[in-house]
Symmetry: C2
Subunit: 446 residues, 2 copies
């Protein structure tokens, strides 16, 4: 860099995109907002900074290490590391103003000072939805959430993805049946890691929990049951009527699966999977993970579940809920690697309007206003440079159409429109041009 | 609060809205995004946290006091306090990847640890646009920016607002003519405060700068010239041909005003005002302030201007630009106090679909899918409670229509739709209901 200048650079693990990429990131966010809001979820925007005492109300050791925490004056503050604790705070604070079931979405940045490495971000977007009940909450919400996951991934242009569903009561009930109630949460954490570490390593870890090989094999056989949802439930029927938790879990999952079908989620996009455990003790019923099948290494890109108490550290009220969270940055990286269709959309405008010289600026502004009024996004190129440089600009911004306005066009009361895709160009009237651009916008995704 | 619970609370100066208000805040943001992007501005999203050395490259004493700055490990970090320094960093870092003129908008939170007081926020949204040239930049951009300000305020439902425009070269040239070149920036800062402190107080402050009463009176007479833009320029003609800066300023402002008119900004919404100085030395040409006439005390809600060098502390390249910044939180507070039309829009959905009992859930889901497919945002009420409680929910969420589905409706293959505005209710077919809701959406803003 130049002498005496400060070197401009970003902190490691903080994503910052070039303009064309940012448009795509924004369109992913917009798809999520659209789907969430059309199902009746209110948007929420909580502060980036909160009292440490609030954010860390429930946090354990790992969280404490990763957070951005500091003091200003006498105030101990932390940057939010998820959107769940702020939701718990919000619902507790505003209980009397809210109407339940309270459906909210929040899409915002969270901050985790993890070790920076490829594909890991220290600042990243989470897109969360939750439905919170006051005392109770219908299980059908668990099915609707599944249909929302489906809708979002479909809208993102993904087809080969699997929403893997389970119910934690089935697992905990099953461990009860094996007389392992006291080790339930520890076993769950091992089950949760099977995909990452493999079956043999998981078995070793269960050994460390002092389980017998018979118990270990029975657990592995159970969590690895494969088949259609009906087949999986059938195969686990032999454990029925031995434990209330287990029976409740099976009844709940049957209802959820039934309604998932009613909501129109195709069978190929969801599966019952007893190996889905989610690490957090927080979850008490339905749990979800979503895998993009072309990117198994990505892990789950959309996870969540049902919980009994959103905010037990803030209030005695029972606030059960169900929710999911999508980490957008990693999903964005994956979509990019897939050459997904949405990456076609990367110009903010439809037309770049090029006046041939400064005398034509006034006319160009009038023409641009006509295009704008017809709903066509139009930018005028104002700099007084050679035509070649103007066209280079058009190419770089990846605009679908260039409209050229010169003396000839003005004398004939027409414009020249050039489709950048194939270079095809013609001199036509403004209203004809409006028609062409509009029909292009209807057929092409950009 | 309850025993043993942590009290949920927010830091002072951090806005957090109830759901109905958040919808309106979001729609303000969306209006801005829409207008910015349709004029060819790319969206940008820079990190919330940056190296202190980068963010404070140019900052002076006041900024240092207000920032949220802390260390994690060996890294000295600061939360961004505006969107201009991050832009300068971004353009310097990515110069070779960008195409100029580079038009970007950024809407994001900034953080300033100011003394908390009513109407002042420590975390607030700024909505910035800038056009950056490489070496030079056409003055017409200054006019287009004015038309964008106009468009945004009009879209926000504001009519009585004034964009006040000036050119800093006119002021500095005028001070040169009075042989006050060396005190130029100090005088500008006093002029900038006239509205806040009044003319007499401003005169006192000019006295402290050791100006003669003749000079002070001449300055005051000049900056207080009133009239149409043509009259104001005419009245200042007597200073022409005495100073290059002054003459350039007058020529530039004439061109900008000419094109503002071409862009279609009504004369009642902008004015030439020689008392607009902007405090920052950064600005070198056109400057803007925007006042909402019903809320003079609010001060300027949209300010900015033309500068010669965006990023002189990062690079030797000359990057002139023009931009504006809107502080959304204070604007939101003002709109709220005005009972603005956009405050009508506060439900995320069009229809709340109420199945009379749990047996009807399946049918309700199918009906909701039909509404959704027709582009109507529909939420189903799933909780198994009395109808009165379901209707109370509908009222609270301020939804325009309720659709009721019971045994009667199903046997007749119809639905009952109730318009919440006037309570009018009728049993009709689904496609008739789609028509009613769609025509309502076309005529009513919500």
């Amino acid at each position: 860099m130049q002498l005496g200048k400060i070197v401009p650079k970003n902190l490691a693990g903080f994503m910052e995109l070039l303009p064309a990429k940012q448009i795509i990131f924004d369109s992913i966010v917009n798809i999520m907002k659209e789907v969430y809001s059309k199902h009746g979820f209110y948007s929420l925007d909580t502060p980036t900074l909160e009292y440490s005492s609030v954010l860390l109300a429930k946090a354990g050791g790992e969280t404490e290490k990763q957070i951005y925490r500091f003091s200003k004056g006498a105030t101990d503050m932390t940057m939010r590391f998820d959107l769940t604790v702020p939701l718990a705070k919000y619902v507790s604070m505003n209980y009397n103003e809210l109407i339940f079931p309270f459906k909210r979405y929040q899409i915002g940045k969270v901050f985790r000072g993890e070790k920076a490495q490829k594909g890991r971000y220290r600042e990243f977007y989470q897109a969360d939805i939750d439905v919170i009940g006051d005392g109770s909450l219908s299980t059908i919400n668990d099915a609707e959430i599944t249909s929302i996951i489906y809708e979002i991934f479909k809208e993102l242009g993904l087809y080969d993805f699997t929403i893997r569903i389970n119910n934690r009561k089935i697992l905990s009930g099953f461990f009860n049946i094996l007389s392992l109630s006291d080790k339930c949460n520890d076993i769950m954490r091992v089950i949760d890691k099977i995909e990452k570490v493999g079956i043999e390593k998981a078995k070793d870890e269960l050994m460390l929990l002092a389980l017998s090989s018979t118990q270990i094999n029975e657990i592995m056989d159970f969590v690895c049951i494969k088949g259609t949802t009906e087949e999986i439930i059938d195969k686990s029927n032999l454990y029925l009527n031995k434990d209330t938790d287990f029976d409740t879990g099976i009844a709940e999952i049957k209802e959820v699966l039934y309604y998932i079908d009613v909501f129109g989620v195709p069978k190929k996009n969801y599966t019952l999977d007893y190996s889905i455990a989610r690490g957090l003790d927080y979850y008490t019923g339905t749990v979800y993970e979503t895998t993009v099948n072309d990117f198994p290494k990505l892990g789950s890109v959309c996870s969540g579940g049902r919980y009994d108490n959103l905010a037990e550290y803030f209030t005695n009220r029972k606030l059960p809920g169900v929710g999911i969270s999508i980490g957008i940055n990693r999903l964005f990286d994956a979509l990019q690697a897939m050459d997904n269709d949405i990456f076609m959309r990367n110009s903010p405008i439809d037309i770049l309007l090029i006046p041939m010289n400064v005398e034509i600026f006034e006319k160009a502004i009038c023409v641009s206003r006509d295009f704008q009024d017809a709903g066509i996004k139009t930018q005028i190129y104002f700099e007084d440079v050679k035509l070649a440089k103007k066209m280079k600009y058009a190419n770089k911004i990846n605009v679908p159409f260039v409209v050229i306005l010169g003396e000839n066009e003005i004398s004939e009361n027409k414009i020249t429109i050039k489709r950048m895709e194939d270079g095809q160009s013609s001199m036509i009237t403004l209203s004809e041009a409006v028609g062409i651009v509009k029909s292009y916008k209807r057929t092409v995704l950009y």
